[in-house]
Amino acid sequence: MLVSAVCLPGIFAAISAEPILVGEVASLTGASASFGQSSHEGTELAVAEINAAGGVLGRPILLITEDDQSQAGQPATIVRKLISQDKVVAVLGEVASSKSLEAAPICQQNKIPMITPASTNPKVTEVGDHIFRICFIDPFQGTVCSKFAREMGWKKVAVLTDVKQDYSVGLTECFMRDFTANGGEIVKEQKFSSGDKDFKPQLTSIKAARPDAVFVPGYYAEVPLIAKQARLLGIKIPFLGGDGWVGDSLLKVAGSALDGSFFSAHFSSEDQSPKVRNFVETFRAKYGGMPDDMAALGYDSAMILAAAIRAACTTDPAALRDAIAATKDHDGVTGRISLDERRNASKPAVILTIRDGGFHFVKKVEP
């Protein structure tokens, strides 16, 4: 209350109570729909909570969501629509780095701030000073995985990379660099492309190399099939992966095949902090299922934007940009988030393990 009292424009705005328009570009259908829908639900939940608490600057937030059907060429058009037709003050999204890379130049040219909840490719925020991210980047996550692998005492690791995803290639590079620099050995490098269903050829040659563990920085659609087929081929060692594993269908498809495997992620729903408990409860009440990383990141992206609007006391994009850039120690559900001078988030990662059909917290890795 005290904060909003300081904001004079807020008081005037409260009289008119015209909504603040925020754009969201997400893959609600198509190949990456699972991520897009999750982050959309998280974003939507955050906006609902903000509005229930009276909005920001006394005005409600109106979220305008457009579906890009996971198709190249769409995000640029959508962002143009959001900015010029709907006149949004900021854009939230996309999850996939290749889509964010398409949307970012348009936001940058129009000087509209854009916050991507989950694009981990370093290039995204390099597009310009209006592009932000609230997740950690690929090199950090690769190093976290490698550090964890060494702590587990694994000496020989095989890697299975999704070469169709820059995310996976980036994670693999950083993992291998750190792992070999610290005395580990990569005994086999194998590749697949997202959309593949049969991984027995790659697994066959991995099995022949006898590793201690397999690093699979893939996505939730392929990882459970990889694990299942690996168990069939008699590969019993643990798998290790990144945040791409998180998705509704991972455990449903994998059954028990991924038990005893580990992955790095943004958030653990087992976190006992009141903030996370509250988020998990309201999310379940609204959507039924448990929130995943993408939902948590979507939630935080909207919350950080709202906090920045409050701090700027205005929705003027230039002031808003500065306020977002100044984000420090934001207490989000995915941890304490600060944005550095390159507009990347500095925040902890968590390592989760899979057991009894659920994700369980193992440890937190600070940056």
């Binding site: 059907q69 198709q71 060429g73 629509k81 900015i83 037709q85 290749s98 398409e102």
Partner: protein, 317 residues
């Protein structure tokens, strides 16, 4: 001065006049306008291959990819100093590179026809995509970005006017009637002494050239290109424009390109109007379902295409 040439000059003048205002129109509509221009180029060039020459091709997005990537690579290599001259030469080079790819596809077409040709062109499109996906200098799976936004209203529609003028005059010339002869009856054409080989390869080369230009325009408009944007589904989109417009009818195909570009965006805006009844909005939100139903229904009710035998530069008989 002949009538088509007058029309061309008028169209170019219109482009120049339009470009004066293009800065002041809403960038979203501007985006749709440019995409209309690019899709017209793609559809009209594919129409030369399918509609006029009767060679079924499912790899048009591949030619577009060649044009997009080669032109983008050139302007990026040129660096920050790349002005409109660099841009135009890059566009042209992209067209030439695509034409070379068209030649490579056109040659097997001498031995194959119908569905076999369809699968081979589809295969070439996938091979082009696959090569890009493995080419590090082109960004491989990451996609390629960093081109400046050179493409504007004037260049896009100047290309459209030139391409349509070129294709229409070619097809309507005495020389160009060979294309139609190949389509209507290849054996009879050959018996009449028409070099069918030459015409088929020529259709692929010219069609690919124009598609390559369209790719270059696209790359310098969106400023980020990704191999997945040139997949087989993109080729299918272009084929649908040609068939819906009415094969061989340049004007019809251009109209279909306009309709099929605007329609999805129109449906997108329909779902934004809160005063519309909920079922209508829900239907509009699932616009891809609507789009596919539309294709089936149109084929069932108007198999000759949406705009039948409409054509440029020809008086009604």
């Amino acid at each position: 001065m002949s009538r088509p040439r007058t029309l061309l000059l008028a169209a170019l003048a219109l482009c120049a006049a339009g470009s004066v205002f293009s800065g002041s129109i809403n960038p979203y509509y501007h985006d749709i306008l440019i995409m209309i221009g690019i899709n017209i180029l793609l559809a009209a060039s594919l129409n030369l291959i399918i509609g006029h020459t009767g060679q079924f091709s499912l790899g048009h997005a591949g030619f577009m990819a060649v044009g997009a990537y080669s032109s983008a690579w050139i302007t990026i290599a040129w660096g920050a100093s790349a002005g409109w001259l660099a841009y135009l030469s890059a566009l042209f080079a992209g067209g030439v590179a695509a034409a070379a790819a068209g030649l490579a596809v056109g040659v097997p077409s001498l031995r194959l026809r119908g569905d076999y040709l369809a699968i081979v062109t589809l295969g070439f499109g996938e091979i082009i995509k696959g090569v890009i996906q493995n080419a590090e200098p082109l960004g491989a799976q990451r996609g390629l970005g960093g081109m400046a936004q050179h493409t504007n209203f004037f260049w896009t529609f100047a290309c459209v006017a030139l391409a349509i003028y070129g294709i229409t005059t070619l097809v309507h010339s005495t020389y160009g009637s060979g294309f139609l002869a190949v389509r209507d009856d290849e054996i009879a054409a050959e018996a009449m002494g028409i070099n069918t080989t030459k015409y088929k390869v020529l259709a692929f080369v010219i069609g690919a050239f124009v598609a390559g230009i369209a790719g270059g325009l696209y790359a310098h408009f969106k400023q980020f290109i990704h191999p997945e944007g040139f997949s087989f589904l993109r080729s299918v989109d272009i084929v649908v424009m040609v068939i819906l417009g009415g094969m061989g009818s340049t004007a019809g195909v251009c109209l279909a390109a306009v309709v099929l570009t605007v329609l999805p965006e129109f449906l997108r805006s329909v779902s934004d109007y809160p005063w519309l009844p909920a079922p209508v909005r829900e239907l509009a939100e699932n616009r891809m379902i609507l789009y596919s139903i539309l294709i089936v229904v149109l084929m069932l009710t108007r198999p000759q295409g949406l705009f039948g035998k409409l054509d440029f530069g020809r008086k009604k008989p």
